[in-house]
Amino acid sequence: MKPTDLGTYAKNTWCPGCGNFSILNAMRAVLAQLDEEGLPVEEVVLVSGIGCHGKIVDYLNVNSFYSIHGRTLPVATAIKLANPERKVICFSGDGDCLAEGLDHLIFAAKRNIDITLILHDNRVYGLTTGQYTPTSPQGFKGKSTPLGSAEPPMNPPELMLVSGATYIARGYTHGIDLLQRLFKEAILHKGFSFVDVLQVCMTYNNLYESYNKCVYEMKGNDTSSFDEALRLSRSWRYDGPDAPIPLGRFYQVDAPSFEEVFPGFELVDLDEAKREKKISEVLERMI
């Protein structure tokens, strides 16, 4: 399977130069490669939120559920629990996932459910034309905060770390090799995988220049160490533009995943006769 086999007839409507193209291309390549390597693409289900990022599912000829703003994870959770064989990948925005749907994100991490979440972290609401998000730096002048936002930013990798995610990484949309590597690792990781992608929004928050100056790839860090992961994830906290920004894998540990523990018993699929018999037993006990 070639990456191009995974395209659709949908017209791509991202802005020229948008970082989402890198995510799309990297994902397409990874899925095609995984298909070759024995993870058939029909076993993959994509779930997207609403925002520019969400459009990605239209561009991938893969099973998908185009959900609503902030709600990728509960949909994905059920798809995974319906059949733990599926590989479920969520595409979410920073407004989508860190504002509207933050609750679900933390619970997905807490449960360590085997889902991969790709955060298209452009630090702005793209599709609603430019408001601050939870990862915008304090003072961000967006449409809803023309005088600058009053809130300091959130640090998603750090938050994920204390919440229980077992794979945490950061990529950047200028750097498709790393993206591919991280996507593949994340998908293959058993447990909740969180990939924060510094996705540049050309139109409302063009940070190419500042990112290009600041990003560096972590090498040799101990990804099994909570403390080291914490230190590295706190070394840049989405505030100042000119601090070094670590890319790569922060953390990866092995831990029981939710779908392994849930529901706590062997799932049976009763045929109608067996079901009826069991129902009669229940009714008996109600006399």
Binding site: D58, N63, I287
Partner: protein, 554 residues
Amino acid sequence: MEDFSTLIGGIAGDGINEAGATIGRLFNRLGYRIYMYYDYPSLIRGGHNFSLIRAARRKIGTHRDKVDVLIALNQETLERHRERLKDKSFIIYDADKVKPLDLKSSACGLPVSQILKEEGALSIMKNSCILGGLCRIVGIEWQVLEDVLSMHIPKELELNLKVAHRGYDSAVEFCRIEGLNQESLPIMTGNQAIGLGLIRAGLKAYIAYPMTPSSSLLDFMAQSAPGFGLRVIHPENEIAVMLMAQGFAYAGIKAAVGTSGGGFCLMTEGLSLAGQAEMPVVIMMAQRAGPSTGLPTYTAQGDLHFILNAGQGEFPRFVVAPGDAEEACRWSGVALNMAWKFQVPAFILTDKSVSEGLYSLDISIAETREEHPILWDGEDEYHRYKYTQTGVSPLAYPSHRGQAIKANGYGHDEHGITTEDPKTAVAMADKQLLKGEALAKEMEEYEAVAVHGDSGSNTALLCWGSNKGVCIEAAEGLGLKAVHVVVLSPFPAQRLKEALKGAQRIIAVEGNSTAQLARLAGLYGINVDEKILKYDGRPFSLDDLISEIGRTLA
């Protein structure tokens, strides 16, 4: 005596609900049909709880004001309910806690604490003691009680039996309840009946965040999960609940959710998604007295129009409001079938009365079998939203090599790819209308409106949901017609008109302050003449309703 009412009251923590259920089971063993109303405020220990258990030859779904036996675990019970005593009522009380009032009724104080102490029994076992006394007093044989306790007491059965026997021995017979020559039926709450109905129709997942009066369905499902292979999830909030249901639906797993008003609010966005993405999902929505937190443990019928119109945009939905456990069981299965047959949201709309009320259930009537949705034939390319004559597109679930199954909450084309093209938008809206019509057509086969009482009467009570039982009995007693609307959407206007034929005076009986069914019927040119509305959180008793009807007709 073929209509016997018992009230047992005490504080929260006394196990009044379970004690009431046990009393129901005793009568059940004698061949009676049971209805129980359980009244409790929103607190965990203390306050005042009571169960009103009525037993009769015929199936019933309402309580009477007066009682034949009043069981008081505390003084408050006696004082609050003294008005319920008739000349020939009998009072049973915990003699160590309750000072009998100077009433004309016969009474028996059981030395409960003393017995418990002597037997080294826990305080909660006082119910066994009292029930022992009750059996002796109303002439129910010891064996019946022993059978019931043996079946339903999970822990320390021996000790409970001992304590019960002491109670039995301490009392004397006052009357003798005759056994009826009828078989015993299972007795269960509306929520349990819903659970069974859904399971029987093929449910595979249940998701809920606890909320009175829906929580007992979650309990039931969680308990039933291992036996029936159910995935039961209690996630972070109701938004997740509703979205998880859609993930399951997408994957081909029949799922239901349960909630009450405030929780349902949080599901409305997901509901609209189900509409657009055509995801089958069943919503058990148990009404309670609102607005907002309102009276969380009390009943109401205040959310009908909200349910009918919830979610932005236009899409068909199925709404059924069962009037008792039997209907709850049967129609829950229908709801699940309709959801999947037409790929629409389907509501089981109850209220606290139906959800937590206890009823006798004849399963042969309540039976609904699983129906299977229309599946993709595997030919050609799969299109999740293929146009068809009925508007219903064949389903496929992942995984199929070479096929991408694309669900979409955005405006989309047949394949499920987003589009904002005006013609496609119209075609998809028309598809929704078609599905609505197909669903309405299907419903013509179902008894969506039921006529009870004197069908020739020119006065008709018009009701829905939990008021079924009380309206039937009142109508029968007064020689009126009672028309019970079971399906609220698609609205069975034709059936309703036929049911009301000949009625010159229509009286709406509802548990809300604005007569919501009357409003709905008005849309179809059916105009109600009078309204009897109750909105204090308590269900009508038969006596309430009869006297209200008297006032209305006067």
